[in-house]
Chain length 225, copies 2
Amino acid sequence: MLLVDDLVNPAVLEHANTGARIVHVGKRGGCKSTPQAFIEKLMVSETLAGEHVVRLKGGDPFIFGRGGEEIEALREAGIEASVINGITSGLAGLTSLNTPLTHRNHAHGVVFITGHAKPGDAGTDWRQLAQTAHDAKLTLVIYMGISGSEHIQQELLHGLPASTPAVVIQNASLPTQRHATTTLGELRHTIEREQLASPSIIVIGDVVRGVQALQQHPPASAARA
Amino acid sequence: MLLVDDLVNPAVLEHANTGARIVHVGKRGGCKSTPQAFIEKLMVSETLAGEHVVRLKGGDPFIFGRGGEEIEALREAGIEASVINGITSGLAGLTSLNTPLTHRNHAHGVVFITGHAKPGDAGTDWRQLAQTAHDAKLTLVIYMGISGSEHIQQELLHGLPASTPAVVIQNASLPTQRHATTTLGELRHTIEREQLASPSIIVIGDVVRGVQALQQHPPASAARA
């Protein structure tokens, strides 16, 4: 039995066992969204009924993929599960633009953070995060940040220069991927002008200069690295 | 032509074209280490000589993998390259322990950071990072942190409670992987007692409670999530 999210490429399902039941439990795009609690209950009840349950997601289930909640639900029911990493959009997006998230000379680390915390939670202190990212040379990768991008930009500007390079990548790793390079100071303006929408990741930091260099100097010959 | 790092599983090479030249350019383990500049020159010269060059690494080349430097060297020589993501040890390690790096209730994000910056660079302000990780609920994943772990621990304790759960995972994703759970306050002591050595990742944050829960309640039946 396959429980399949909306962001999973349909071509993946061609590899499924022909006898497998395929259930689409996506949370976006369709007319109805499947509540997380329902998915967890289904995983538990079908496994206890003797089914071999495979949960298919886009990206990495343990990076903003709610894999932690699903593992907890299974564990509470005494069910063993194994999780296989995928490529999270924060990695896939910048890689597709041939640009690293860390670099010995420019970035000593990277922060993956949600721009959209659970309702009711205290919001992220973006000013403090910006100061730390600046001082410790960290690339910022913001998931689900489009709707809050005006607020995030204004707050980050208290700790990072307006000239800090940024890129917004919509539909990272999908055939419909598109992106726009900008700066922190022009972030919101660029999102509006280019009509960039969810799902997008926003990457802010000096490493993004690599994307810009690429666009200015299109390479001549071909190799793989 | 394949340029292969030491951390690459030899089984991967069985998939190589039988006519391919395989060159081991690892930087650890052997009697001699291959300088990074030599590897970059080799990639450029062989590509310009008409070879199809594949650079094989363990983990993800754009997360502490020096992929950024190699892409720059190629770009300067006018050579086009494409990079394929791998699973970086910071993801593979905690996933193998069935534990998420982010969690809606416990961690709004994750920081991947090197414990071992380039010689001559100003060191990371671990106190500031600890405060930000605490306030913004970020999981800390420290690469190459074993040799500096005493200093890192002492500094992080200024911003995070000594009781913060931690886990050290040596040889993440390899058959020789082993780990020890601990707390930030007992980190150095645990590394010494368990003789944990490089390459290891250190994960610090509330999500690590998931590893501990797993060890206390071994699951009963089997499924895949």
